[in-house]
């Protein structure tokens, strides 16, 4: 029997007593004037990001280096093709997984190797044994070096996380400034009908659980490559 009404009842009863506003007991080093209304614009306090594309690209590249993400700006489709083929060869890919999309179709054609498609029901074991998952994305975020994917832009939930190498095909106009911009973009794009899963991916999978030492490839992809066209 769901306890919805009892819980809501207890909450309403509890909230009849007013709680003090936050920050009143803060020490001198932490004291900040309280705001009239709760803030909605965090940009002035979050890490700064430059306005121009070049500044964003530079910041994204810097963050990628730190995260061990392989981030590459490519001039055109020809260069993308060359780089993809080289990557596939260097990594020894035998089978890739991908979804239908403008750039992913191009990539699939360029690579010409066995493929698992995740546009409709697929065999999990086939996906698990793929060497790479190639997806598009909704956005890149310069502030954090992140990629925004959803089930709609990246071929479902598992494609971007199960294969050991995740390759993202992005466009320059997708490189956004910061997290506030990323969430605003998601709202604009999907506000009336959200995909069931959206994800902000920041670097290859990692863990610090053993002596707080960083190790890549804990469960998700060990490698993340982003080609930005």
């Amino acid at each position: 029997m769901s306890e919805r009404e009892p819980i809501l009842g207890r909450i309403r009863e509890a909230l009849r007593a007013a709680a003090p506003k936050p920050g009143l007991l803060s020490g001198p080093g932490q004291r900040v004037p309280a705001h009239e209304k709760r803030p909605t614009d965090f940009r002035p306090w979050l890490p700064a990001v430059g306005e121009s594309f070049d500044e964003r690209a530079a910041l994204f590249a810097k963050n990628s280096a730190e995260l061990k993400t392989d981030f590459q700006l490519v001039a055109d489709r020809a260069e993308l093709q060359t780089k993809l083929v080289a990557l596939a060869h260097a990594e020894g890919w035998k089978k890739i997984a991908t979804h239908a999309g403008d750039l992913t179709n191009f990539a699939f054609a360029a690579l010409g190797m066995p493929v698992v498609r995740t546009d409709s029901r697929y065999d999990v074991n086939e996906l698990e044994s793929s060497d790479a998952g190639i997806t598009e994305c909704d956005a890149l975020v310069a502030q954090t070096g992140s990629v925004v994917v959803t089930t709609r832009s990246a071929g479902g939930r598992a494609l971007s996380v199960l294969p050991p190498h995740h390759v993202v095909l992005a466009r320059r106009d997708q490189l956004l400034r910061d997290l506030p911009a990323a969430f605003a973009a998601l709202k604009r794009q999907y506000g009336s009908d959200y995909p069931s899963m959206m994800c902000l991916i920041t670097g290859p999978s990692r863990t610090g659980d053993i002596e707080r030492i960083l190790v890549l490839g804990a469960h998700g992809p060990k490698k993340l490559t982003i080609f930005c066209l």
Binding site: L25, G27, P28, G29
Partner: protein
């Protein structure tokens, strides 16, 4: 402290009946008993223009915790007024008077321990260091984790002595690594705890209060 303030030309008064700010009772959860002592303190200092104290923890009690102790009681306004008049010694010199050179001389290697109450409740960080910088012959060497609690914590030291001791040992180790002659702090209780531990473990550490350093000529 009295000597230093008089040296700087100030008139110092001291209500001889003052005994304690009441913090031990407050920290132990006996707020009614703490209030009984604190009420007397409020009365004692009612006519004072400025109150200067030489302890980070007593200062924090009177500046921050009196407000909490008297919240919702008839003495709330008076407690707030009292808090506004209270200054810790180093903060008073540097922030209020704008003085960093008090004419002190103390040739020694010294490291500084940031007592928790002074650091976090009163914002003491730059002030003691600014004063030490002007002491003739003194060399200040910063220790690692200077802001880490020494482990005294009032009744905590006797209620949970094993934890208190471990924290003190970590502090002593940090201090020893600097090879300083003295550990200086704004809080006598921290220093008593550190010295007590150092003496028992036969560690070559000597403690001195900031006010003692500033009084040296």
């Amino acid at each position: 402290m009295a000597q230093v303030l008089e040296r700087l030309g100030h008139q110092v008064e001291y209500p001889e009946d003052f005994t304690c700010c009441g913090q031990p009772a407050f920290n132990s959860g006996y707020w009614d008993e703490a209030r009984a002592v604190a009420e007397k303190v409020l009365a004692m200092y009612r006519s004072a223009e400025i109150i200067v104290g030489v302890s980070g923890s007593c200062g924090a009690m009177m500046t921050t915790f009196y407000k909490e102790l008297f919240h919702g009681t008839p003495l709330e306004a008076e407690a707030n007024a009292h808090a506004a008049k209270c200054w810790e010694f180093s903060d008073f010199l540097v922030t209020k008077l704008g003085v960093t050179d008090v004419g002190a001389k103390f040739p020694a290697k010294v490291t500084f321990h940031d007592g928790c109450h002074g650091l976090r409740e009163l914002g003491l960080k730059k002030q003691p260091r600014a004063l030490l910088a002007k002491v003739k012959g003194l060399e200040l060497i910063e220790m690692g984790a200077a802001e880490s609690c020494c482990g005294f914590g009032g009744t905590f030291a006797v209620k949970f002595p094993m934890i208190s001791t471990a924290m003190g040992e970590v502090k002593c180790d940090s201090a020893l690594k600097t090879n300083a002659d003295y550990i200086v702090s704004c809080d006598a209780s921290c220093l008593m705890h550190i010295q007590g531990l150092a003496d028992r473990q036969k560690k070559p550490l000597r403690t001195m209060h900031l006010a003692e350093v500033l009084a040296k000529q």
